[in-house]
């Protein structure tokens, strides 16, 4: 693994803080709340109200107050309210990344059913997945150990077929620590040493085969497949509030920034107790963020948040959307990742994601955007046509949030409220038919006209006013994200208003997103969820506020919020529910 020698500057210079934008944003937040009263059940800001741990006790603050390492240089210390403990299954991507980091370059598949951080914290595995894990572990270790040079590079020594063989013990100790993200205890080393000896004897006395199977076992163990986040009470009389240990924090940090198992340097820091202290976490975070590996890791947050993996298997009706090809979804996904990288990680300003004109296209995507070309093979940085501006107008985002044949302005608006603003729109009343009427061919109507008919009932309008203007602003882009001038032969009117602010079109709507406080607030909520695997409890409001302030004060630099998160109690502590005491 390689790191750039000097960590790039990350924390925002206070001079650059955009006080005006902050002010505007807070105003917008107030405005949102005022308006939401109109929707019949009320619009919720944030959506973790009945999720996760229910304890709101802050007693661990007392239990922990004597620990100078914790509170010493953490001026923003808050009561250690925190999310639940538990087992977090590796996502398929984490599984693949982790196997490769333990073994080196092997053809590791992405195994598992639960692909987002939130889903993997809840989901379990049935036998079919256990079998996939088994076959993958056997296959990758067989591949590696079949190559005498590669296996010697991995082990650094020649094993012998004995339970006490020092080479086997050494390999299990070092690989085991990488794989399980903590040192193996004596029982565990003995179990796998015995396994290596037994299998070697079974398979003709070949110690390499024994070791190969022991390593395959390490990769099937629950200690590898689950991130074990159990913590330990800081106060014996209060078993519900626990602090994650250094190894557990090393894992949290590594999967948060690199989306893979911790490297030796991070595990060494955990062993030395450096991660028990927020002051020790920051340098490690800097180191991880400075590595090229941080790109894919941090981008995974957006893969989860925007559900970008849908693009791997994008399905559209090729008769109605002739630009659709089986490969265009992959190109769209790559473009989105590159645009997010460019704005969020390179320009260090999340707001730019909503108004950038920079795109990245291959020939296929260039044609979709009606760009002249010619294009070099691969992805070309381009300035997109002036009909595009920001995430909301990028083909991939539009294609994900559309049906196979047609757009749904209400669904697009609903999704954007939910995933980019963390706002909840109540479902329609149960007796309302959710389908729009089909106009006859002789009386074509635009989606706007159809929706206006639909929401003539004030009860319906009370919620649709939050979704439809956003969705209708995007009607110039069809279900594949291709720009169009008309809908059913009729002109499209993309104007509307966002929480009281009028906008003429989608480009201007993107501009309003750069100012809306809910947009940054939602990013840090997603960050918290991604890092911890669960939706924030209302008791975690102080953590969210802390993260949002860090984001805003840094000029919307996500890495500033990551730093605030890593140092926060919400990251370093956890809460057991009483029924989950072992």
């Amino acid at each position: 693994m390689e790191f750039s020698p000097e960590p790039a500057p990350r924390r925002a210079d206070p001079k650059q803080t955009s006080a005006a934008a902050t002010q505007l944003g807070r105003l917008a937040l107030t405005l949102t709340w005022a308006l939401t009263l109109a929707c019949y059940q009320g619009l919720e800001q944030g959506d973790g109200d009945d999720a996760g741990a229910t304890s709101t006790s802050t007693s661990a603050a007392t239990g922990d107050s004597g620990d100078s390492g914790d509170s010493g240089d953490d001026p923003q210390a808050i009561a250690p309210v925190a999310g639940p403990t538990g087992l977090r299954l590796l996502t398929p991507t984490q599984y693949r990344n982790s196997v490769i980091d333990v073994l080196g370059e092997v053809a590791a598949p992405a195994v598992g059913q639960w692909r987002s951080s939130i889903a993997a914290a809840q989901g379990g595995v049935a036998v079919a997945t256990v079998e996939d894990y088994e076959e993958a572990a056997i296959a990758v270790t067989a591949q590696l150990f079949a190559d005498p040079e590669a296996r010697l590079l991995l082990t650094g020594c020649e094993p012998a077929a004995s339970p006490d063989d020092p080479c086997v013990a050494e390999v299990l100790t070092s690989l085991g620590r990488r794989a399980w993200r903590r040192p193996l205890v004596a029982d565990e080393l003995a179990r796998y040493g015995q396994l290596a000896a037994d299998v070697a004897q079974l398979l003709g006395g070949d110690p390499w085969l024994g070791l190969q199977h022991a390593v395959a076992g390490l990769l099937q163990s629950p200690n590898f497949l689950y991130r074990v986040e159990l913590g330990a009470p800081t106060d014996p009389s209060d078993p519900l509030h626990v602090r994650l240990d250094g190894y557990e924090l090393a894992s949290r940090l590594s999967y948060l920034v690199w989306n893979t198992t911790p490297d030796d340097a991070l595990l060494d820091a955990a062993a030395a107790g450096e991660l028990d202290d927020p002051a020790g976490l920051s340098p490690q975070l800097d180191r991880l963020l400075a590595s090229p590996r941080a790109r894919d890791g941090v981008l995974q947050l957006f893969v989860d948040m925007l559900d970008l993996d849908v693009l791997y298997a994008l399905q559209k009706d090729p008769e109605l959307l002739p630009a659709f090809t089986p490969t265009i979804g992959l190109a769209m996904r790559e473009e989105l990742l590159r645009v997010i990288d460019d704005t969020v990680l390179q320009q260090r300003d999340y707001r730019r994601l909503f108004d950038t004109r920079g795109g990245f296209v291959d020939a296929e995507l260039g044609a979709l955007y009606d760009l002249p070309g010619p294009f070099e093979p691969g992805f070309n940085p381009v300035t997109l046509p002036d009909t595009r501006g920001g995430l909301l107008t990028l083909a991939g985002f539009l294609a994900i949030n559309s049906g196979e044949a047609s757009t749904s302005p209400t669904m697009r608006g609903l999704t954007i409220r939910r995933i980019l603003m963390c706002q909840t729109i109540p479902p329609p009343p149960p007796d309302v038919a959710p389908e729009l009427p089909e106009p006859g061919d002789d009386t074509p109507m635009t989606k706007r006209e159809l929706l206006q008919l639909h929401v003539s009932d004030p009860l319906c309008a009370s919620c649709h006013q939050f979704t439809d203007p956003i969705g209708l602003a995007l009607e110039h882009y069809d279900a594949l994200g291709v720009y169009r001038l008309t809908d059913r032969g009729l002109p499209i009117d993309p104007s509307g208003d966002l929480d009281g602010k009028p906008f003429p079109d989608a480009i201007a709507l993107g501009g309003l997103f750069t100012e809306h406080i809910a947009v940054g607030d939602c990013l840090v909520r997603n960050l918290y969820r991604y890092a911890t695997g669960h939706v924030e409890d209302p008791a975690l409001a102080p953590v969210i506020t802390l993260l949002r302030d860090s984001l805003v004060d840094s000029g919307y630099d996500l890495t500033a919020a990551v730093d605030a998160l890593v140092r926060s109690e919400g990251f370093r502590y956890a809460t057991r529910s009483p029924e989950d005491l072992p």
């Binding site: 079919a128 256990v130 056997i138 565990e188 022991a214 629950p222 559900d307 329609p428 149960p430 939706v535």
Partner: protein, 458 residues
């Protein structure tokens, strides 16, 4: 599919001698030898089997049931496709599924009839309108309850199969952390058996185990690796809270099953034969039939005793090109069309087709002779859906069919019984009783029942 020559039983005992020679210190193998080997050696009766055959979007609640009750019901109308096997099928009409009407009706119905409970909502759900992607089961589905009783010793505790694509393409994402709109076989909430969709893949999985010869040392080595993994799990288990312990226990069950599969010694009955690879037919009907024939043989060879076949998911939006029902033809998916048009001729054609395919499955089990009868004689195959009416999500007159003799426990020839508005969950409960599952009740909350369907058991 063609049957190739029968495999002499002797060669099926693969690994018997090899295992005893090399499997020193592997308790699992010893255990399997004893129980599994003796079961066949002492001529004890062939096992019972349990199946769920599920289709999405229900039927026509006012028109599906036969006109007369009791034996000799007429396979007409929507049930016309059952005619070739009607003697083996009982029709239970008039059952009501007491859903709360709080969540998506298709999920409430599927979880209600299969798991006997109200769906659980994922903690990340925040009130957005599409709750179906956030819902999971209340507890194990009926096939898994049956498997706990029937299938402990078989290489495949459950065969989970699907014929058409499941409902949600992005299952397991932030947008779809639930399971119950797409999957029907659940060992527990948030754990599902992902279905095999390609008959050729099912063939390979099953009949790889029928290759004659001794158990290879490499398979024993892999089983030994899993022993070490089990040791890890036991050590971790004690440190976990209740929920995570349950998750890990299911993982352990999977490891145990896989160990059995790696070291399996297949000792199927006289009917057990190697089939040929059916490929992956483009026709959904042929796929369903190929799977049915493979399941029948898996039962006869005692590779498995439990099947969950999902012809289509709850609220399925798939096409049925075999009968000319396609989105292009209808202007929208079959289910959307159903919502728009109600029970018109196209919809009734589709509903009749689903019954015909259930009949195909039953016919495949009956086509395989076994011990003087057929595989179907020792099976119970529950046919059901997620709603009664796909058009209006009705839950009255729920579609419920029970095929097979369950070793003499189910009345044969089949009868038509009306539950007269009673709890539809009595039917899955009766099926569990028919295969001898040691349960006194099925379901929770308003679904809970301990009553069997009168007249369905002998």
């Amino acid at each position: 599919m063609t049957l190739s020559k029968p495999i002499p039983r002797r060669t099926l005992l693969r690994g018997l001698f090899g295992a005893s020679a090399v499997a020193v210190g592997l308790p699992l193998l010893e255990a399997m030898l004893d129980s599994h080997g003796e079961a066949l050696a002492d001529g004890s009766p062939l096992p019972l089997r349990f199946g769920v055959w599920f289709w999405g979007n229900g039927t026509h609640p006012l028109a599906w049931a036969p006109q007369t009750q009791g034996p000799g019901w007429e396979a007409a109308g929507l049930l016309a496709g059952l005619a070739p096997v009607k003697d083996a099928i009982s029709v239970i009409s008039g059952g009501t599924l007491p859903v709360l009407k709080k969540n998506n009706p298709h999920v409430e119905g599927a979880v209600g009839i299969l798991a006997g409970g109200n769906p659980l909502l994922h903690p990340s759900f925040s009130g957005q309108s599409n709750d179906w992607d956030f819902l999971t089961v209340s507890g194990p589905s009926v096939d898994q309850i049956a498997a706990a009783h029937l299938a402990e010793k078989t290489p495949f505790r459950t065969l989970a199969l699907a014929v058409t694509p499941v409902h949600t393409a992005d299952a397991g994402s932030n947008n779809a952390p639930g399971t119950a709109i797409s999957y029907i076989s659940h060992p527990a909430p948030y754990v599902f058996n992902p279905p095999i969709m390609d008959p050729s893949e099912l063939f390979a999985k099953l009949f790889n185990l029928l290759k004659p010869g001794e158990l290879e040392p490499s398979a024993i080595a892999r089983a030994k690796v899993l022993d070490a993994v089990r040791g890890d799990a036991s050590a971790l288990r004690g440190r976990l809270g209740k929920n995570d312990r349950a998750r890990l226990d299911l993982h352990l069950e999977g490891i145990h099953e896989l160990q059995g599969r790696l070291t399996a010694m297949v000792m199927g009955g006289e009917a057990c034969m190697m089939l040929s690879d059916p490929g992956n037919p483009e026709s959904e009907r042929l796929r369903a039939r190929a799977m049915a024939e493979l399941v029948a043989m898996a039962f006869a060879c005692d590779l498995s005793r439990v099947v969950s076949l999902e012809f289509s998911s709850p609220a399925s939006h798939v096409d049925y090109p075999d009968i000319g029902i396609t989105g292009t033809g209808l202007g929208t998916s079959f289910h959307e069309y159903e919502h728009q048009k109600g029970y018109d001729a196209n919809v009734l054609k589709g509903l009749a087709y689903f019954m015909e395919l259930y009949g195909d499955f039953v016919a495949a089990l009956r086509a395989l002779p076994e011990a003087g009868g057929t595989v179907l004689d020792r099976s119970c195959v529950l046919g059901t859906s997620d709603v009664s009416g796909g058009w209006d999500h009705a839950m009255n007159d729920f579609p419920l069919l029970v095929a097979g003799g369950a070793g003499g426990a189910l009345v044969q020839p089949g009868v038509h019984i009306s539950l007269a508005g009673g709890n539809a969950c009595r039917v899955p409960f009766t099926c569990l009783k028919a295969v001898g599952a040691p349960v006194d009740a099925f379901g929770s909350d308003q679904f809970a029942t301990s009553e069997v369907v009168p007249g369905l058991l002998t």
